[in-house]
């Protein structure tokens, strides 16, 4: 723990807080959508991946996505109306951003790994949601729409996150906390 710098920790915190503020609005919109047109509400799912992707893409350090997810969850606890459920939700989505990099032991950081994580969300979430929301009671086209929208939304969220992180990189921030590419001799 003593190896990681304070700048890394607090940069993740800043991205997490900004992401939390974004998710606060998305949280209420998705609750309202869920109550009325349940399978449309997943169009917002990509937003839950967004903060973790921004943090991971900008810093390219191990555990950045999970730390951003943890902070963004903690920050919205007083407002979200789900209590500490928000922390679990945000950590859960951040884990899908973290996983493709953990699997290669943080050896390389390429763009396709983020999209791989998004595809896994698109495959795993509808199955789990089916158990919780009793999705099997919907007509078949509703279930198909649910699958397709989850996939499209998570891929869109990842693409947006990468775009934001690259724009931030061009502004020159987070130089202290960012991973430094190995110097070639």
């Amino acid at each position: 723990m003593s190896r990681v710098s304070t700048a890394y920790l607090l940069t993740c915190a800043a991205i997490g807080v900004a992401g939390g503020i974004l998710l606060l609005g998305a949280n209420w919109v998705s609750t309202a959508l869920f109550a009325t047109v349940p399978f449309i509400s997943v169009v917002l799912i990509g937003l839950w991946l967004l903060p973790a992707v921004v943090g991971m893409r900008l810093l390219e350090r191990p555990l950045a996505a999970l730390l951003v997810g943890l902070i963004s969850g903690l920050v919205i606890v007083p407002f979200s109306g789900y209590g500490f459920g928000s922390v679990a939700t945000n950590l859960w989505y951040a884990a899908f951003v973290e996983l493709p990099f953990l699997l290669v032991l943080y050896r390389f950081w390429s763009r396709w790994q983020y999209f791989a994580g998004a595809v896994v969300v698109g495959a795993v979430y509808p199955v789990l949601a089916a158990a919780t929301f009793d999705l099997f009671s919907f007509p078949w086209w509703g279930q198909a729409l649910f699958f397709v929208l989850t996939l499209v939304s998570s891929i869109g969220g990842v693409a947006l996150g990468i775009a934001i992180a690259d724009a931030l990189r061009r502004t020159g921030v987070a130089r202290i906390a960012r991973r430094r590419p190995p110097v070639r001799a």
């Binding site: 993740c12 009325t36 902070i71 903690l74 007083p78």
Partner: protein, 268 residues
């Protein structure tokens, strides 16, 4: 400068029967957790209703509820259970539900009693899970949760203090967002009306806000490093969040009540 209510402020000490704010945050998470997980797999109407009542009873007795919290409990949750229940009944595939009772007929479309039962069992289940989460959520401040994570669960204190710093970032970023908005308005960037212009306007705030936030975070990190933050493997705490006998009693009692409710609902 306007004075806003700080949602992360220290909670005032509680008195009398209001026992929830004084409990350890971890106890308030551990107590309802088994019931929340088990409820995901419940498919009837009675079990979630019983847990909804339990969560409301614990909250109404044990928590000091502000107007906003009362609004959430008295209006928002019942209303969402109603809307989700009706919505899910309408969306449920009529071919797969019990068609013995027809509740409503509109032209060629019929709302069956079975669809209503399916819809409301989902709605009550979600309502029960959310209200169980609120037992801890409405009565704990974020900083106290972070402190108990560090003090009881041995989360590295540098991560804990990062989270504590993050809570202080929230009002600061609100202020920064206001400055960015004013700067954009002065320059006439992204003018115009309508939802598309508004989306473009908000899109223009994202990168400057994040860049400002990260710069602020780097300055705070340098200030903390300069004060030797993280120099030692452990540190002393100014605010102690103890795990006492009453926390154990609360958790055990809640688990016993959960088991009893499940058995009662299953025996019917």
């Amino acid at each position: 400068m306007t004075v806003a209510i700080d949602p992360y402020a220290e909670a005032a000490p509680s008195r009398g029967l209001r026992f929830l704010p004084a409990l350890n945050p971890l106890a308030k998470i551990a107590a309802p957790l088994p019931a929340m997980i088990a409820l995901v797999f419940a498919r009837d109407l009675v079990t979630p209703l019983a847990f909804l009542v339990l969560a409301y009873a614990v909250l109404l007795v044990g928590a000091r509820l502000s107007g906003r919290m009362l609004g959430l409990l008295a209006l928002a949750i019942p209303a969402s259970v109603l809307v989700i229940g009706l919505g899910f009944s309408v969306w449920a595939d009529a071919a797969r539900v019990d068609q013995s009772v027809a509740v409503l007929q509109l032209g060629g479309w019929t709302l069956y009693g079975g669809a209503l039962a399916t819809g409301f069992s989902t709605a009550l289940r979600l309502g029960a899970i959310v209200s169980l989460a609120l037992v801890g959520g409405l009565t704990t401040t974020g900083p106290d949760l972070v402190r108990s994570l560090v003090q009881q669960l041995r989360v590295p204190y540098r991560i804990g203090y990062t989270a504590l710093a993050a809570f202080r970032f929230v009002p600061r970023f609100g202020h920064e967002l206001e400055i960015i908005r004013q700067a954009h308005r002065v320059r006439g960037a992204h003018g115009g009306r309508g939802p598309l212009a508004a989306a473009a306007r908000w899109g223009g705030y994202v990168v400057p806000l994040l860049a400002g936030a990260i710069r602020h975070a780097e300055r705070v990190a340098l200030a903390m490093d300069a004060r030797a933050f993280g120099a030692h493997p452990t540190r002393t705490e100014r605010h102690l969040v103890p795990f006492r006998a009453r926390d154990v009693v609360f958790v055990v009692a809640f688990w016993a009540a959960s088991v009893a409710l499940f058995l009662l609902a299953a025996s019917r």
